[in-house]
Subunit: 176 residues, 2 copies
């Protein structure tokens, strides 16, 4: 059953809301470890992991409140800093893959995560999309919205959602 | 990464609505082949496949219109026949697993498929539940209801739904 090309698994990853860059979120790490432990197992040559990080454009500019913009160069430095953040995040996953010996690719896109993920699935055509999720109850979900629910419905490939385990859930379950 | 026990994948299977027993439905076969080709691959010792077939009690008794019931024995023979049907279905999947060399178990339950599947997930605790689905549009779905949507929400393990490919869809997409 080998030889038909590796199974390509896309994993959507994002940063922690509680520990700040460059830490991967609890649910991203959970999704990744689930793929390694339950799917890839010892068959490292049979899989190719594709990490997609979607950066959300900073709507209210809160992060940049203390910055002073005096020249076009100042804006370039922001873009550079955002890029660095995303790169640190991806570095974590690429390093782990390298340790384990599984092939991987990782890239960053900007936009609305749910739409960008579905667009990238269409473009890249993975065999499986794996997303971590916080496992929020229906009440919390109304206010937060979930990327995974949208992708379950709209992504053009099979999708599996890995919920955080109860012992890994922070005090405020909206954090990750 | 091996040695922690095989990854246990539960696959919900049902019979074809167009070809009759003992033929597996298009979507069941699709889900099974996806698991073999994309997940198990050459690592047959790393996985244990668990086939669950839920038999729906015949609500309107249409299948039994031509039967005459004269003694308790007549009812026993119906139950026996139903059981045989389910066994033929499971035999298909167990035979394929045997050919490929992957460990498996298969069993039959009676009831509402979506509820029985979620109950069996709770009892058996697989690492992943795989369901085939017909890939109906929203209009068709309203009338048919989908087991996979229910299980995505309520099953206590990760769930992946494998849609039939377009070329395998029968003329009436509600058939399977």
């Amino acid at each position: 059953m080998e030889g038909r090309g590796a199974t390509r698994i896309m994993i959507g990853v994002n940063e922690s809301t509680i520990r700040g860059y460059p830490h991967a979120s609890i649910s991203s790490r959970g999704a990744f470890e689930w793929v390694l432990n339950k799917i890839v197992r010892s068959n490292t040559s049979g899989f190719d992991l594709l990490f997609l990080h979607v950066q959300v454009p900073d709507e209210d500019g809160f992060d940049d409140m203390d910055s002073i913009y005096a020249s076009p160069e100042d804006f370039k430095s922001i873009k550079h800093r955002d890029k660095l953040r995303g790169l640190h995040l991806l570095e974590y996953f690429v390093n782990r893959c390298h340790e384990v010996g599984v092939a991987c690719q990782a890239w960053i896109k900007k936009g609305d995560p749910k739409e960008v993920i579905c667009h990238e699935v269409k473009r890249v055509q993975p065999d499986l999309l794996v997303l971590g999720c916080r496992g929020l109850g229906p009440f919390q979900r109304v206010f937060v919205g979930t990327v995974s629910e949208f992708c379950q419905k709209h992504a053009e490939c099979p999708v599996v959602t890995i919920k955080r385990s109860a012992e890994e859930t922070p005090q405020d379950p909206v954090d990750d």
